[in-house]
């Protein structure tokens, strides 16, 4: 069994999810007694060596002009071409904007079965099964792929990677042949929310809800976020009210996150909010209503008023982390 992990890059370096894809591929290789390789684009050989720390030994660069800033159709043709050349049966993508669109296209090309947003992969007899949250996280489905070829996208921050290896990565080039569907779409520009950590990628998230009473009080959330070194998140109620941008919304119609620590302040914990954050590894809730549903998923609950709790919490966290509170 050979596994191919797609390693996403940004501005010439691997993203954190690249190491998570390696981790997942390595995990599948251990379950099946197989081996794994990486495929990437937009990064030079020197920077690829970083992946050796996570146990990657073989990596292919997908070399084609259309892949410098890849669109899904082009990337799918390149990755499936490489999977065929290297006889890889399993392909792993991060469940990111790019990965989520490319993976199903690869599945069609390889005639593979696919599971999206996987949080665990296990062995069941001779088969692999994947676990994924369904119905807004209210249930967990174990899914078996009946086809021999398999494609998985993995939820960010679940297959947490540790740099425990010192492998040297052997890098080869793969020049895919792309047809005209691949070149019909061009990425013409990317605007990043500058200077801000994105909730989809942050290790720690501090989120605020209607309990903050108004946009002018969100400095309390921003200061606590700076003390933690965290991203700022929000409930839909405050996004719909125009207090915060949609990019910060966590939940079913916002982003799905699983950070190490999620701090929910003045958020009731409606199912649609929980859908986006209940797989966080540690959850702190600050709410003055001890019956708020958010406490049912909280590991640490503070029953209290955000206006009293947050300034003190911010001060103590900042003391512990050494992070400054001011912008």
């Amino acid at each position: 069994m050979k596994i191919l992990a797609y390693l996403e890059t940004q501005e010439g370096a691997f993203k954190k999810n690249a190491f998570e894809a390696i981790k997942a591929a390595r995990h599948i290789a251990e379950l099946t007694g197989g081996e794994f390789i990486g495929a990437t684009s937009g990064i030079d050989a020197a920077n690829i060596q970083e992946a050796g720390k996570y146990g990657l030994e073989t990596c292919f660069t997908l070399d084609h002009d259309a892949l410098a800033q890849p669109n899904a159709a082009a990337l799918a043709q390149a990755v499936s071409g490489l999977a065929e050349q290297e006889t890889c049966q399993i392909v792993v993508f991060p469940a990111t904007a790019l990965g989520k669109e490319t993976a199903p296209r690869v599945a069609v090309r390889l005639q593979a079965g696919m599971v999206a947003d996987t949080i665990d992969i296990q062995r069941d007899g001779d088969c692999l099964v994947a676990v994924k949250p369904v119905y807004a996280g209210k249930a967990l489905a174990t899914v078996k792929i009946e086809a021999p070829q398999q494609v998985y996208t993995i939820r960010p921050n679940i297959f947490t990677a540790t740099a425990d290896s010192s492998a040297t990565v052997s890098v080869s080039s793969f020049a895919p042949s792309l047809d005209d569907v691949a070149t019909k779409t061009t990425v013409t520009g990317v605007t990043r929310n500058t200077g801000k950590l994105d909730v989809a990628e942050a290790e720690i998230i501090v989120s605020g809800g209607r309990g903050l009473k108004g946009p002018e009080n969100f400095y309390l959330i921003e200061e606590l976020a700076r003390a933690f070194g965290a991203a700022v998140g929000a409930s839909r109620a405050v996004v719909d009210a125009g207090w915060r941008p949609h990019a910060e919304q966590v939940g079913q119609t916002g982003k799905t996150v699983s950070p190490n620590l999620y701090v929910a302040c003045g958020i009731s914990g409606a199912v649609q909010h929980l859908a986006g954050m209940s797989s966080s590894k540690n959850i702190v809730a600050v709410n003055k209503d001890k019956n708020a549903p958010i406490f049912q998923v909280a590991d640490y609950g503070v029953v209290g008023d955000v206006f009293e709790v947050l300034p003190e919490l911010t001060r103590l966290v900042s003391e512990t982390t050494g992070n400054k509170i001011e912008a």
Binding site: N71, A72, A73, A97, K100, E101, A103, P104, A107, V108, R109, A112, G113, M114, V115, A116, D124, V129, P133, V134, Y135, A136, K138, A139, A141, T142, V143, K144, E146, V181, T185, V187, G189, T191, R192, N193, D198, A200, F228, H246, A247, Q252, T253, N260, V271, N282, F295, V297, Y300, G301, V302, V303, G304, V309, E312, L313, L316, V317, T320, T321
Partner: protein
Amino acid sequence: MNILVGISRVPDTATKVAIDESGTAISAKGVKYIVNPYDEYAIEEALQLKQKHGGTVTAVTVADDGGKETLRSALAMGVDKAILVKDEQGLDSFGIAATLSELAGQDYDLVLLGRQSIDFDSFQMAGLLGELLGRPSLTVVSKLEIDGQTVKAERDIEGGKESVTSSLPCVISVQKGINDPRYPKLPDIIKAKKKPIEERAAQNLPARVTVTRMEMPPAKSGGVVLGDTADDIKELVRLLREDAKVI
């Protein structure tokens, strides 16, 4: 421009979930079904594009008989035509995509979808259909402009937005924020009840994926509950440092 809008029928988000006897699905008892919330944005976008460019809007769902109710909502919003592809077997995503691609391959310039179905959050249909049809796909689109054959879109990516250009025919999935879906008025809802729904049979396709187990997520037990005194907050920070080891 002829547009096909794919609609998926999903349990209302407020539904309480229970596992049925088979242990591989949720119990259908007491579940209220709705139009997948993202698909309302797709219907609205299709109607607005029609207004600008002319053409027709067709809504399709691959579902059991209950899909008629879903299509009535689309008709009430104003789509021209509704097709139920009757699926008795419970097709997986690939089977649905294969079924839809047969239809979409005929004379539609654009297939509009929601960014994901909120039941299984599969997030696959746009990519599957794009590849099956040999067409470009653009997903999580929050801004769309079509001029002749040229498509300009803005899509949400991690930490920002991506601008892309592509061309018709293509498959596009839309995101909240692209528009404000209209609420059908009562007369429209009544009229929709009398409009015809075309029925077709789904293909029989072997499943590529099957659910072998459905379970409730492990309950969080024994969360620590603290008050709001200075000591409580000090204790919280200690727990985050020493127990959770997150700071």
